[in-house]
């Protein structure tokens, strides 16, 4: 086989980048045009220019073919372009009829709708709670004017000297009791943090304030050692007692151990949260996928009839995705309503809900890709024959 014939055959394969309808119409001419031009380039300019032409024409075919595929996918090819230009509801590819049919579908498949809606609501709740937890841990903010000036707010039990979790109730109390940051106490100074906890990542400065004699406040001291820090622990205690007999050092440990003890619960809870969120998303996606698959299977004949009457691919897809949007939208709305019920207080912040809803919408639409592809594969002739 000559090189010219080989190149032409390869070009014929590359033309698969074009949609089938385009290939059926133009491929023989395109191959012939390519072949003639290749022969001309080789005759007039030699093999090197011919090779350059082959490469350029191949890339050009891939690029133009993908462009045509995109055009066919968006507008359903030439016919739908005309439909689109004629305007009206065809302009968006969706109509109120789609929304109405979507609502009817929700009523018709009650079990699946309930399962899908509950899964979506649950996933939104988990997602919103996740954002709240992460937001509180990474960006704690005191709800006061200039609250951002405080980089670390920690609750301590005065009797046990143990740290306590901040809860929404504490912030509400602070908002009620404290009118300005200064009321928290005179700030003695700020130093660079030694990075004990994962909440400040070792870079944020620490704020120290004066401790009155009546206050039992824990103090944290960092000691840099040249050798093994474990060996120095006992000696540090002795040194401290030598300075002040009342100075008692508790919980002496290496920085690595301290950081790990702080990190481990956070990592475990984060992992558990992520697992639950992913599970919720998968459940929602599976529910939507099932509902849309059942819907497509039952409407095969109707879809085939529509295709036979000239409905474009975009129009058929709009019918599927609009119903999915109705389903996902209903689930998101239900989830948001439940989370904002008075007294429940699960979702703190519109941004978290907005983000979670956006994620759910994306997942819901992705779950429809499979059923949508099935719609595009429906052969009108076969569908109309089926009883």
């Amino acid at each position: 086989m000559s090189l010219r014939r080989a190149a032409t055959r390869i070009y014929a394969v590359v033309l698969r980048a074009f949609p089938r309808r385009h290939r059926e119409q133009y491929a023989p001419e395109m191959i012939d045009t390519f072949d003639r031009e290749l022969a001309g380039q080789r005759r007039e300019h030699g093999n090197w220019r011919a090779l350059r032409f082959v490469l350029a024409a191949g890339l050009d075919a891939v690029s133009a073919g993908l462009g045509e595929r995109l055009r066919h996918w968006r507008f359903g090819g030439a016919q739908a372009t005309g439909e689109r230009r004629r305007g009206g509801m065809m302009r968006t590819g969706m109509s109120w009829l789609d929304v109405k049919l979507g609502l009817r579908m929700l009523v018709r498949y009650k079990g699946l709708t309930l399962a899908g809606g509950l899964a979506l609501a649950g996933a939104i709740g988990i997602g919103a709670a996740w954002y709240d937890v992460v937001g509180d841990q990474l960006h704690p903010r005191l709800p006061l004017p200039e609250g951002h000036r405080l980089v670390e707010v920690e609750m301590r039990n005065a009797s046990s000297s143990k740290g306590e979790w901040r809860v929404l109730h504490d912030f509400l109390n602070w908002r009620r009791d404290v009118r300005a940051i200064e009321e928290l106490g005179a700030i003695v100074g700020m130093v660079r943090d030694i990075g004990m906890t994962p909440t400040n990542f070792g870079e944020a400065p620490y704020v120290y304030r004066a401790v009155s004699a009546a206050t039992s406040s824990p103090l944290v001291m960092g000691v840099r050692t040249a050798g093994d820090p474990e060996a120095l622990a006992a000696r540090v205690r002795v040194i401290a007692t030598g300075i002040d007999p009342g100075l008692r050092l508790d919980d002496v440990q290496s920085l690595d151990a301290l950081v790990w003890s702080e990190d481990a619960p956070m990592l475990a809870s984060s992992g558990a949260f992520v697992a639950v969120v992913v599970l919720g998303l998968c459940m929602s996606a599976a529910g939507i996928f099932s509902l849309m698959s059942v819907s497509v299977a039952r409407r095969t004949r109707e879809i085939g009839l529509r295709a036979a009457l000239g409905a474009s691919r975009g129009r058929l897809l709009a019918g599927i995705f609009s119903r999915a949007i109705v389903l996902v939208g209903s689930g998101i709305a239900a989830g948001n309503v439940v989370l904002n019920l008075p007294g429940l207080g699960l979702a703190d912040g519109a941004t978290a809900l907005l983000r979670t809803s956006a994620v759910m919408l994306t997942v819901g639409l992705l779950a429809c890709v499979g059923p949508a592809r099935r719609v595009l594969r429906i052969d009108p002739t076969e569908a109309l024959k089926a009883t």
């Binding site: 001419e29 350029a56 050009d60 075919a61």
Partner: protein
């Protein structure tokens, strides 16, 4: 069947490939794809070329937009090879080419005013 847009301005600015094909098609003359490809190269002394993929994608769109009339060629085409389609620029295609040329001339006038190029020179 082709559908013709009413106003040429709706298609402006044109894709370069479509503009080149419109310029390469003489009034009233029917050309097949390969001839258009050669005409594009000839009218610019080889400085501008159009490759088959881009050419046929452009022709499909142009036929759809009503910029060209597409006709089946005879079974025993004198040019040899497979059965070809022939294309002729429509009056609407000519109007769109004029609108695009005027748009480009307005830009060229700005370039001349800013002394980026001299009038009538490259």
């Amino acid at each position: 069947m082709t559908r013709k847009a009413k106003d040429p301005a709706t298609l402006i600015p044109l894709k370069q490939s479509i503009y080149r094909v419109l310029l390469a098609l003489p009034d009233g003359e029917l050309l097949h794809g390969y001839a258009i490809m050669q005409a594009v190269s000839a009218m610019t002394d080889g400085r501008e070329t159009i490759l088959p993929g881009t050419l046929y994608a452009a022709l499909a769109r142009m036929a759809d937009e009503g910029l060209v009339d597409e006709r089946e060629g005879p079974d025993d085409d004198p040019s040899g090879g497979p059965k070809r389609r022939y294309y002729r620029r429509t009056s609407f295609g000519r109007a769109v080419a004029r609108a695009e040329s005027e748009r480009l001339r307005a830009l060229l006038d700005i370039a001349v005013a800013q002394k980026i190029v001299r009038e009538g020179k490259g």
